[in-house]
Amino acid sequence: MRITVEHVIKFVEGVAARIKEHRDELVQLDSPIGDSDHGVNMDRGFTTVLDKLPTVADKDIGTILKTVGMTLVSTVGGASGPLYGTAFIRAGMALTDRYELTPAEVVVALEAALEGIQARGKAQRGEKTMIDAIGPGVDVLKEAQANGEEFMSAMRRSVAAVEEGMKSTIPMLATKGRASYLGQRSIGHQDPGATSSFYIAQVMLETVEGIHE
């Protein structure tokens, strides 16, 4: 499978559209355990990303992803801005000068992204954050790679793990981020950041499926 610059751009555009679609839902999720801004933050960021994309459309994938990350850092704000921003920047740094990617490189980039989020946010799994969605997804890909599993199938299982991880935040007690201020009252609500992570993963899968067809 050949993943090209065009696919990466399609992926980023797809994320922007998916986030806009779910903007209000992400705001509503951020309301009982947060401050009602996650959807607006993400949408503001990815809308600006769409404006910036044409200026790097002829660049390498690393540059494109770093630009996305820097744009997110500069426009999202809140907790999610530095976290998603760092994730895209780190992924981009892992893919410097690449115009095409192998599945293995995708996994490396996703690992870098996850590490970036953890370095910046210092959250562990189980603290009711986006880590609880992204973490299991990256686990599946790494394990599949070690087992020599076919990439498409690994991606499907990975995104299923992200979805499950997202749902697993519902019963969790938050100990990081804004929801942690609620103590016991944070239990019973799905984490908004884990939810946006799932939508991003979904678009990634769809993009890869598009290439496959």
């Binding site: 705001v27 509503q28 309301s31 009982p32 355990i33 947060g34 401050d35 009602s36 801004d37 607006v40 933050n41 503001r44 850092v73 500069s74 426009t75 999202v76 704000g77 809140g78 907790a79 999610s80 801005g81 530095p82 976290l83 910046r120 946010g121 100990t175 990081k176 981020g177 804004r178 942690s180 201020y181 609620l182 103590g183 009252r185």
Partner: protein, 333 residues
């Protein structure tokens, strides 16, 4: 949603334009990235004092920019911490050669964005220090959590550190004072009503006609617990009790007592609350040396109030009394 606004997406810029139109003698407003600096920035040889955070807490922080308080404020979207570009631009704009202090309220977003800004500023050779306020006793403090929120102490700290910087304190000294104020200050708040983030269009939580939220922050989020609405005297106990026990404040202490409105609270109620607080502190043998009563750190139109107590000594009292000339706080000038 009933607000005096044009459109949710324009609120912050419109309000900034209003500040620019109203207070051009005191401050200058920059856009994209958005930040407010005192009109005479940078002040040569003076430590630059910067703060920032989501909008919706007005007059904090923009209303505190001016002589004797902040050199710059960085307003994010409503309840969303600003982005590093703002803090970096503001840091450069106020750097008078003596370094810049970032005053950060302890929220994951604020901390990370300020951290990134500080990294970028350091990479450009600027001398930046940061202090994180975390005075909200409603939040349990534990190394396993995001820690306590920064709330009311931030206002008092900005005034005191601003006075120190104005008087020529160096960066280390400014940081020391900031940490001291934070260490000696505690806060707790409650809400009678929720507030509505303009983009969200509906209140952040639901409250019955006879209910209140106790242990709220300043982002329209629910508090630690719901309680039946009760008298000003009982609410005063609920807020002041945990504050006093936490530091702890002790018989013989002198404090700065700050009774803060959350944005939709009329002043008559703040004075009723201040009266109860004054009685409670007198009972406990604590003297109110200075006070501040008004809506200075708010959650949009939320009704409710918070108490902040800071233990005073001669140093802090002198810094509090020093002249200040900003849109929201002004004395001696």
């Amino acid at each position: 949603m009933k607000k005096l606004i044009n459109a949710p997406e324009g609120v912050v810029k419109d309000a900034l334009a209003g500040i620019a139109a109203a207070h051009s003698d005191l401050v200058t407003v920059h856009y994209d990235p958005d930040y407010i600096v005192r009109a005479d920035a940078p002040v040569k040889g003076k430590v630059g004092i910067i703060s920032g955070g989501g909008s919706g807490h007005e007059p904090m922080h923009g209303g505190f920019v001016g002589r004797g308080m902040l050199d710059a404020a960085c307003p994010g979207a409503v309840f969303t911490s600003p982005v590093p570009d703002q803090m970096l631009a503001a840091t450069k704009a106020v750097d008078g050669g003596a370094g810049v202090l970032h005053i950060v309220k302890n929220y994951t977003g604020d901390v990370m964005n300020f951290e990134m800004a500080a990294e970028l500023a350091a990479a450009e050779g600027l001398d930046v220090a940061a202090v994180v306020t975390n005075d909200d006793v409603a939040v349990e403090n534990s190394t396993w959590t995001a820690g306590r929120r920064g709330v009311g102490v931030t206002v008092l700290l900005e005034k005191m550190v601003g006075a120190a910087a104005e008087a020529g304190a160096n960066l280390a000294e400014c940081k020391r004072i900031a940490e001291k104020v934070n260490a000696q200050g505690r806060s707790m708040g409650m809400a009678l009503t929720a507030c509505t983030v303009p983009h969200a269009g509906k209140p952040g939580f639901e409250l019955g006609d006879d209910e209140m939220e106790v242990g709220i922050g300043i982002h329209g989020e629910p508090g630690r617990r719901k309680e039946k609405l009760t008298t000003a005297a009982n609410i005063t106990e609920m807020l002041a009790g945990p504050i006093l026990d936490d530091l702890p404040f002790q018989r013989g202490d002198t404090v700065l007592a700050f009774v803060n409105g959350m944005g939709g609270t009329p002043q008559i109620e703040l004075y009723v609350m201040y009266n109860e607080l004054a009685k409670l502190l007198a009972d406990r043998g604590i003297t109110i040396g200075r006070n501040l009563i008004g809506s200075y750190i708010t959650s949009l139109e939320m009704a409710g109030c918070s108490f902040t107590l800071v233990k005073l000594d001669d140093e802090l009292t002198k810094l509090w009394d020093a002249p200040v000339l900003t849109p929201a706080l002004r004395w001696g000038a």
